[in-house]
């Protein structure tokens, strides 16, 4: 999965902390959805009538974003030295010669 094997490096945040943070965070998420059913918010766009529209939109939007980016990565990702071509003759002479082939 990972070219440099970062997977073997330990997490910098102690696991019990991150567990506590994530639990608090999800509790806040649930609270926000509960409020959505209690409080009557103003509606400007027809989609906003959907219960917990913003929560759904945020979650699904990001899920789509991340998945699509993985697809994009397959199309556009190149090795780090991809652009290290020999420079055009006469242009910026004297550097990049190490790569010149």
């Amino acid at each position: 999965m990972n070219a440099h094997g970062e997977a073997h490096k330990p997490n910098s945040v102690p696991p019990e902390w991150s567990r506590r943070i994530i639990r608090t965070f999800f509790a806040a998420c649930i609270l926000l959805v509960v409020i959505d059913f209690v409080y009557h918010r103003h509606v400007y766009h027809s989609w906003e009538n959907i219960p917990a529209f913003y929560a759904l939109f945020g979650f699904l939007g990001l899920a789509f974003l991340i998945q699509a980016s993985k697809g994009l990565r397959r199309l556009v990702m190149r090795p780090e030295d991809y652009y290290d071509d020999p420079p055009l003759p006469g242009l910026m002479d004297g550097e990049g010669d190490g790569h010149a082939g």
Binding site: M1, N2, A3, H4, E6, A7, K9, P10, N11, S12, V13, I22, F25, F26, A28, C29, L32, V33, D36, Y39, R41, H42, Y44, H45, S46, W47, E48, A52, F53, Y54, A55, L56, F57, G58, F59, L60, G61, L62, A63, L65, I66, A68, S69, K70, L72, R73, L75, V76, M77, R78, P79, E80, Y82, Y83, D85, P87, L88, M92, E95, G96
Partner: protein, 567 residues
């Protein structure tokens, strides 16, 4: 006296003086320039202008109205922050070059926003490019040299396009005043294109993500503040209500967030994030109502603050560790807790959390979209808002300061960097809590209240669940890993395709050319050889004949004549 000096002059004069002082006097002078400039611009009255006639045209090198004054205040703040951030530079960092070019750059931005005519605008437009490229070149890596050269070419082309458009405009209207332009006729399109390059419109955006990550730690903070914001200012003045800007803005807000997810260099990620934020501004200008244009310029103001803060925090990481790649970083919160906190404030601001400044300006553009019935653009921009959370809100702070422990142990950056970041963070929160301070400066009267219960609730839902998606992806370990790599973008055209085409065409031309030359030289040689055979030292026509044989031939010829006479 104050209130009547063109703001750029203070910076240009300061830049001239800087090389002659060192040490404490230089620090004092550097800080005095934006402070004195700030006092001057604060005293400038609306409607103040300087005009003179040149070759039958009335030029307005200095014009102040609410729109230009807002950007004037903003650029002084940005200059103060960026200068504070770069006070620690030493001789080995080419400090004089960086300080001087930073000042000329900031001064040119001020000159451009106060320019009342196209000629003045063009001059400062080109100065922006020429002065800022040194902030990239002083990094002194081969990548920075090349990226800087590409940056310069793109911007000079933008300037030339602006000049061409301005010439057509002046020819057609006879008036060089820079006001509303609109997309009618050749002039309108040429100027639009010139502004579009500087504003990083899609397909002409790649100079930004190419050059900004290659700048020096301090130089990129300058870069992030001025160039694109001058373009947003110029669009707001020349093209408000131009419908195509809505779609360009929406596209700009969306496509970079996909790249930002997979980009490994965190300063390049911020570059993509910058295009995304400019998308909101461009969209606002495109909608063109008072609320939308207010939102666009307010967002430009806030973007300089929070994007500057984020670039400063990544600059601090670069300064202390020499790295900005996500795959090399992680766990820095242990050794840089203050930088971490300030970076998180920037991240919360750009994500538009309530109580931070992004919230009070982005929402104006969103509301304006709904007011004007752009029911299909609104969800697109909502998606883009959620996308910001992913790369700028989470990715930047998380991969640099948390995530896997990279083992790097360092210190907080120099105190001046912390102070600069502190000023940025303070302003982000101040404007978030007291939006009225910013609203009072906007070009149109503001009747907008960002803090109503519905708006706060919906924004929190959007942001928390967007973060939730990232958390879930991380927990399930299906979040895209940080991989050392580059991602192909529009700059592929001139960094990869064009050189290949040039090389291929050049190769073909060389081959044909060589064949031609060889054929020609061959023919020439054959002719020469023939001539040599006839006329060379041993050639039949150049041989030296003995006198006896000549006498023989003369007598033969005379005999022949004699013979012919008798016939």
């Amino acid at each position: 006296m104050l209130g009547s000096i063109p703001p750029f002059l203070i910076f240009f004069i300061g830049a001239l003086l800087i090389p002659f002082v060192r040490g404490l006097p230089r620090l004092a002078l550097l800080l005095a320039i934006p402070l004195l400039g700030g006092a001057n611009v604060w005293a400038i009255q609306e409607g103040f202008q300087v005009q003179y006639d040149l070759l039958g045209y009335t030029l307005t090198p200095m014009r102040a109205d609410r729109l230009s004054l807002l950007f004037g205040y903003l650029f002084h703040l940005a200059a103060l922050i960026a200068i504070t951030y770069s006070l620690h530079l030493k001789r080995e960092d080419s400090d004089t070059v960086q300080h001087v070019s930073g000042l000329i750059y900031a001064g040119s931005a001020l000159g451009a926003v106060f320019a009342g005519d196209f000629i003045t605008l063009f001059v400062f437009w080109e100065l922006l490019a020429i002065s800022s490229v040194f902030l990239i070149w002083t990094r002194r890596t081969p990548e920075a040299l090349r990226a800087g050269m590409r940056y310069l070419i793109v911007h000079v082309v933008s300037g030339v396009t602006l000049l061409a458009g301005a010439m057509v405009w002046v020819h057609q209207t006879g008036d060089p005043t820079f006001g509303f332009i609109g997309l009618e006729g050749l002039a309108g399109w040429l100027i639009f294109l010139a502004l579009g390059v500087k504003a990083a419109f899609p397909l002409v955006h790649s100079w930004l993500i190419d050059a900004y990550p290659e700048g020096t730690a301090t130089g990129t903070v300058f870069l992030s503040a001025f160039t694109t914001k001058v373009a947003v200012y110029a669009l707001a003045r020349g093209y408000p209500g131009t419908e195509v800007l809505i779609y360009i803005g929406a596209f700009m807000a969306c496509f970079p967030i996909f790249y930002a997810v997979i980009e490994n260099d965190l300063r390049r990620t911020l570059g993509y994030s910058m295009i995304n934020q400019i998308g909101f501004m461009v969209c606002g200008v495109g909608v063109g109502t008072a609320l939308a244009v207010n939102g666009a310029v307010a967002h430009a103001f806030n973007d300089v603050l929070f994007k500057g803060l984020l670039f400063m925090s990544m600059g601090a990481v670069l300064h202390m560790t020499g790295r900005t790649k996500a795959s090399d970083l992680g766990g820095l919160y242990k050794s840089m807790p203050i930088t971490t906190t300030l970076c998180i404030i920037g991240a919360a601001s750009i994500s538009a959390f309530p109580l931070f400044n992004g919230f009070v300006s982005k929402s104006m553009v969103m509301s304006a979209l709904l007011d004007e019935g752009h029911m299909w653009i609104w969800p697109v921009m909502l998606f883009a808002s959620a996308g910001v959370v992913e790369h700028a809100g989470i990715k930047i702070p998380f991969f640099a300061f948390f995530a896997h422990d990279s083992g790097i142990r360092t210190k907080e950056p120099p105190r001046n960097m912390l102070v600069a970041m502190g000023i940025g963070a303070f302003l982000c929160i101040l404007i978030g809590i007291r939006p009225g301070l910013l609203y009072d400066l906007l070009p149109f009267p503001v009747d907008y209240h960002p803090y109503d219960a519905t708006h706060v609730l919906t924004q929190l839902q959007l942001l928390f669940f967007a973060i939730g998606a990232v958390v879930v992806f991380q927990l399930w370990k299906i979040y895209p890993a940080e991989i050392p790599s580059v991602n192909v973008d529009a700059d592929w055209v001139y960094r990869r395709a064009a050189p290949r085409v040039v090389r291929a065409v050049g190769g073909a031309v060389t081959a044909v050319d060589t064949a031609f030359r060889e054929a020609f030289v061959g023919a020439l040689r054959r002719i020469l050889r023939g001539a040599f055979r006839a006329h060379g030292p041993k050639g039949i026509l150049a041989r030296s004949w003995p006198a006896g044989s000549m006498v023989l031939w003369v007598s033969v010829m005379l005999t022949a004549f004699l013979f012919l006479q008798f016939l």
